[in-house]
Point group: C2
Chain length 360, copies 2
């Protein structure tokens, strides 16, 4: 039981029946997480893929035309797919119904994905459950809980960055069947990549090649001056629709003081994040007459790369594929074939709608 972070979050780790790691992040001290044991007769996990790039069925392959890595993960094809609510594997365990989480309740819990896209020694895929309440959502968490989730992201970023193969730690949330979510329980994912993802690589290259200042600092300053795309802000964070937004509704959330990654955030910024992010997510959910599907993606500097860390600004990107109450944005010929995004919503109008979406 180890306190983590700069406020009171207590961490305890254990193992599931098949050897996967599970880590509890508790908001109160003194809970003995070793008591709840995973009693399921799970088959032991097969050994991880051999070699530096894995096997034919599970590994990474180099695309020489794009100059990018692609992940091949055949074992995932049979992963759990939209189970009934009473069979949710992310609920806490109950008598006669053991789940992925042996405890009978939890605040925030992280465990290794049973159907991972990447496994040691290539990388690692973790699931992070935001609440034991199956019917909740991130937008309905209280700020104290968001702080605990943030401490879990910080902890996992530090732990996974220390693995020898890790080049990037990626914390994200997929929300909504419209983008392929297969479990409704409020949860996110954390990937340790053995390479720097193409989108991050491009951003780092743009920042390193930028002359006359810092790319991110100038971008945020420009948005603050323009004002037309600001969605929300407080003393430590600002949320805006990018001037060249790709997605119908897209917001980038930057801390006021640039840091390369989440562990570098100071106490005041950590505490101020929850209220700002909850405000943004509630605006997304107020856009339409139903919950808005979204992807929330934490961009953090590559690990073990001092030059990149010196210029990069960690930030959160929230994007939605819904462009109208009954219409989704599809990635068709221009996006999937050519990487050219066509956005039907003018970014300034998206910002205005998000600003007006709810008055709090």
């Amino acid at each position: 039981m180890v306190p983590v972070g700069t406020q009171s979050t207590w961490k305890a780790s254990g193992r599931l029946a098949d050897g996967r790691e599970i880590v509890y992040f508790d908001e109160t001290p003194g809970l003995d997480r070793a008591v709840a044991r995973d009693t399921r007769p799970l088959p032991p996990r097969p050994p991880g893929p051999p070699g530096p790039i894995g096997s034919a069925e599970q590994g990474i392959r180099w695309d020489p035309l794009a100059g990018e890595w692609v992940v091949i993960a055949a074992a995932r094809q049979d992963r759990t797919f939209l189970p009934p609510a009473d069979q949710c594997p992310l609920d806490p365990s109950a008598p006669g119904r053991p789940t992925e989480i042996p405890a009978s309740s939890y605040d925030v819990v992280v465990f290794e994905n049973r159907f991972p896209s990447l496994r040691e020694p290539l990388g690692r895929c973790e699931v992070v459950c935001f609440t034991s309440d199956h019917d909740s959502s991130f937008a309905r968490l209280v700020p104290r809980r968001v702080r605990t989730v943030l401490e879990a992201w910080v902890d996992r970023t530090e732990v996974l960055a220390a693995l020898p193969e890790t080049r990037q730690v990626y914390c994200f949330e997929n929300r909504g069947e419209e983008i392929g979510v297969t479990l409704h329980h409020p949860h996110g994912q954390i990937y340790a990549f053995p390479f720097v993802a193409p989108r991050l690589e491009r951003m780092v290259a743009q920042a390193i090649g930028y002359v006359g200042g810092n790319l991110f600092d100038d971008l945020v300053a420009t948005e603050l001056r323009a004002g037309t795309r600001i969605v929300a802000r407080n003393e430590h964070w600002v949320a805006f629709v990018p001037q060249a937004a790709r997605w119908p509704y897209e917001v980038r959330i930057f801390p006021a003081a640039r840091v390369p990654d989440l562990p570098a955030l100071g106490e005041a910024a950590r505490e101020a994040f929850g209220p700002l992010y909850l405000d943004v997510l509630r605006r997304f959910d107020a856009l339409f007459d139903r919950p808005t599907p979204y992807i929330a993606a934490w961009h953090q500097a590559p690990v073990k790369d001092a030059a990149a860390r010196g210029v990069f600004a960690a930030h959160l990107q929230v994007l939605s594929v819904r462009r109208a109450p009954d219409k989704l944005k599809y990635l068709a010929g221009t996006e999937s074939g050519m990487g050219v995004w066509i956005n039907d919503i003018v970014p300034e109008q998206a910002a205005m709608r998000l600003r007006e979406a709810c008055q709090q």
Copy 2:
């Protein structure tokens, strides 16, 4: 009435009621396409966006973090969306039912999109109808018709490449509601981009930076040697699943003799394309118990760029988002957030299934 291409295809162009250009590609000579006039009371098109990058509502914007252009096209938000079959705007006109095509029948016809993402002076968006048969599909065309479509692609590539702003001509087809198709009539699209698309730019950079030979030549030779991912081939074309395929079912089709773009294809290659491509598309449609949604994307060298044209190999990429009879591949947090593709289908198995999908 001008014969085009290296076989007998006759081309005739005219104007629709709002001034948009329409071009017929006929398989028989002597049809007077000027007879059929567009009688619809269409409002004149608003003037194109001003300036080199357009207006706030319709134009291109530079994303400084990605170093890429994004297209903003607000006017498209209200485009025709899944009309009933008897109101299809791509059918030939009939008495009392004028459509986008004034003629009462056609072989292949191209016209400027009424709801374009890009307009002069920024670029141009055209629609290409493959057949006047509303209920057909590309896979059900006869080889002669595929040749006519190919001649239309060649012609439009030449014409659009000659526009002063054009940097790339992109011919593609979206098929299936699963990827957002809003009109079922068999058709494709042709874009003239005022920039080089990110995916093409990356390929060109990889090819120019490749040492010891030509990237594409070596790639095709490697696939032919390996054999495990070949799907179909004839004397002039080869179709294979890429070793690092991103999509559940993805095939790249290369001509045996490298050319930078479609106009550079010789007569024999043009004639041999139809049989090979039809074979590949029929294999896609035989994978599942329903028509397979796909994107078919022609990669052609950037125009006005001698270095790129010297190394590039024009080819067709066909990709499907269907990964199982009842499951689609979604672009969620890893793909949309980070540009990391995770493929659940092992490329060698995808190739085997496509090979076994139909015995012709």
